[in-house]
Amino acid sequence: MSDVRSAQGGRDTLIRYIRDAGGVGLLALAIFVPFIGLRLHGETNGLVLHYRPKLLVIGVVLAMLARLLVLIWQERRVHQGRAAWRAARVASAGKYVAPALLASAALLPLVPGIANFYIDLGVLVMTYVMLGWGLNIVVGLAGLLDLGYVAFYAVGAYSFALLAHYFHLSFWECLPLSGIFAAIWGMCLGFPVLRLRGDYLAIVTLAFGEIIRLVITNWISLTGGPNGIYNIPHPTFFGLNFNLGGGPGTFSGFFGIDPDPKQLTTYLYYIIFFLALLTNWVTLRLRRLPMGRAWEALREDEIACRSLGINVRNTKLTAFAIGAMFGGFAGCFFATRQNFISPDSFTFIESATVLAIVVLGGAGSQLGVALAAVVMIGIPALLQDLSIYRMLFFGLALVIMMVVRPRGFVSTRTPSIALGKRQQISSELMSEGHG
């Protein structure tokens, strides 16, 4: 009896699948006929219309197959029990993926014979990891949608570039200053938007990012305008520079090794690696302190926060300021790495990319943001040949992501306190006191 029913159910499902896939096929046909099926070709006697039925059929069949796969996959997941499946996967991911990622990131430049290109790519990815973690404070933790994060990146970069240009300060002197300047600008943004939420906040932050860029572009006497600033110094290693000429005062000269561009890249890599780790560490610490908890509570319910005695204004301002500070550090690093900056590096697309990394990573999750940065920055750069399709890839990734994991790669949130542990500690202390 039950066999009959399940066979019946199976047949129903099959029919449903075929209908569904058929619908997708029709849709694909409608779209593909003009795009794939027909092709205009310029020949000597004018334009000629070519028909490509074979390609058209292949395209439609592929679309139908893809739809079938999605359906089967969804079915399987329902059977497995969605929540359990997800929880188990996330738990194992947290346990192994994060340390593995950290270890491989720490060792990447030390791989023997690794090309300079890959270390440089690592530097790029790590910069975005850091930016993602910085923005995550504002967007992920405090829940304030910021579309102008690039402004702080720009402030950090130009702080260093200008201080180096006019006052000949070094990278290490400017790094903290860049962070401080960016934090101040973060507060400047924070004040006017204190009462705004959601869409309105997004619009104002977007405008803020553009204002900073336009000011930099047009204040030609100070910033050089669209021409940018050249000859920004590279960081030094305890006073040693990385000139390729060798000789005294250079890194290679001091250690008696052949000069190699890889030395500088590796050095830069470890600087950004530790800056990113610092961002992560500070974020994780803050989450356990009243300030960080207040950020998260603010994201959840502003009215409740107020009635519990949280100073909402200060909470928002600190979130903006600290998020901006890390953007400033990253900007300072960007300037020293590039040697040259111009307003072109600080367009809206940068804000959008960093925001996409945060959202894709599952707003609020540190591991998710790091993974998303690798996927969004690293993979397109590796697929150099496909670079013209980069935006396509980007859009596709976002769409797939939103379908498969609507809350980001890592959507679970670990509580910042766990009663069991804390009690253990306090009872230990108590018994010590008695003894």
């Binding site: 319910d301 107020r306 009635s307 519990l308 005695g309």
Partner: protein
Amino acid sequence: MSVMLSLSGVTAFYGQIQALRGIDLTVEKGEIVTLIGANGAGKSTLMMTICGNPRARSGSIVYQGEDITQCAMHDIARKRIAHAPEGRRIFPRMSVEENLLMGAQVVKFADYDNQLALMFDLFPRLKERINQRGGTLSGGEQQMLAIARALMSKPDLLMLDEPSLGLAPLVVKQIFGAIRQLNRELGLTVLLVEQNAYQALRLAHRGYVLVNGAITMQGEGAELLARPEIKAAYLEGGH
């Protein structure tokens, strides 16, 4: 008895709309005072005005001898007035314990464990659910959490806005029992807004009736319950 909170001639506005029209109200130390009134009468507004948002446009609010009419919201909460706003408003993605911790913003960390133990005594259900996310609790559990969170700050005055909203009669009883227990054992002063007028007036020492932003009646709980106009307006349809 000494006065804990007194309002005199308080008015409040939302833009052009006047929501409170000259409220005079006192709450003595150790009392349970309830505020009843129809939807839109201004009960929630009155509580929020005490908390500083919206701010009273005229009149004065004195709390334990101190004029708090112009205080900022977060300062008022630090003076040990706890407010559980209408509609629970727990933090949905945070665990039960984190929610409680947020309530303890203003107490010293040393008091935290005591307060937590007290809350678990009062609402054993919360202890079972300590690591569950707030948003996945049942309505009644969420309400317990909202009250417990407000109590974490060791308040002198607890203001509850419709704690029985959407709860089964048995759970309402449980929550009212908890309020009574807190009042008797710890001497907690409570200002309670309720739609459930019958139970609220039975629980409270005194009651106020709010109509259209003004207080029209006041008196002892039992006495108000007996008045025919109260019966007609707020107790119709049984309890």
